[in-house]
Amino acid sequence: MTKKIRVLIGKCGCDIHERGALTMLNVLRDNGMEVIYTGRFQSEAGMVNAAINEDVDVITLSDLTGSLVIICRKVLEELKKRGAEDIPVICGGLLTKDDIAELEKMGVKGCFATGSPPQGTVDLIRQLAPSN
């Protein structure tokens, strides 16, 4: 058996800033993970459908417009609607302390504000992936 960690990196809404997503994409790939990128301007429903079809271990959402609270809430709702709330969600990007508190309250498993060292995300994903 050769278990491989699969991660979805997604960007929802009208955010053009892609650098964070692309950086993490390289970091996760170089850590031996299969990283699926949805590209920009996606909807939350599309994100969840993609995550289900790809059977990812973790959904990571990147956003630099300060909308992560809104995006994550919608993604968590969609996951529930599709009966896939077992897929953990983490996020990274522009975050305030209040944002992080709220995100953690709603069930987001990890928040990485700009400037966080990438290794933290790698470690958390390894922890969150089932049977690892």
Binding site: R29, D30, E34, A45
Partner: protein, 310 residues
Amino acid sequence: MSASKVKQLIQRLEDKERRGLAKAITFVENQEAGVAELMNHAYRNMNDHALVIGVTGPGGAGKSTLVDKVIKHCRRRGHKVGVIAVDPSSPYTGGAFLGDRIRMGAHNTDLDVFIRSFGSRGSMGGISQGTKRCLYLFKNYDFDLIIIESLGIGQDETEITNFVDVTVVTVVPGYGDAIQIAKAGMQEIADIFVVNKADKPEAEEFYLQMANSLHLIPEELRPIMVKTVATTEDGIPELLEVIEKVGLKQRSKRRAKAEIRIKAEIETEVFNLIRSRLAGLIEDKAMAAFSGQATPFEISAEIAGRINIA
């Protein structure tokens, strides 16, 4: 634990549940215990309903964009589409960046389109063992069209043709002249040649050069050429028409292809099983050669001699 997991997956396949398909693919890709039982079930229960097309060609030729537009036009006709999209895995870390979805984002919310990205996981270009097996899983569902988008193209990448009904090779002007096309052995595998990015100034010359070299092939065997500009959807309706036409013709070859494919599959499978059984022995014996007790050739002959075929 794992036995009940297999039973559960088989049940989900029978219920045609989409997340069940996603879970079954992971199960097969990771070669979890019980995969043989799942595959036996999937093989016995697959249907022949879907037209399977393979899209291949060099990186950057626009395969994903082309597939995106083909999906779009098929959806207009109400067809359900399954997509197997393969991207390379790193031979060093095993990691992979699977980016085919980026071009297919428009279908993310469409529940009648099932797109699954695969890392090549150690196979040399084309489709991995896991991917081939997953095609049987897809065939347990009610897709009208299954598209396999495989990475790159290589001299040894003729295998894909036996897994699909129609092979589409995507080429672009500026990738070399017709000599390159002749070299790569693409002519033999293609049912359809798509000259994508046909709005480039050098496209016409490239098209003519290619058409010229293809004219050496007898007409009934000659691949059909289609010009497209995938980004603007120019030529996509024509491509679909050609795919349907070729598909109809190729369906009659299904039995012959299946024969070749089944032989090849059994061969790979047998060698894989033997390899996993002998791995430990080879490791042990290698030390003997290393310390000079025997030559590598003597040891190879000895190990091979242990396989008794009645």
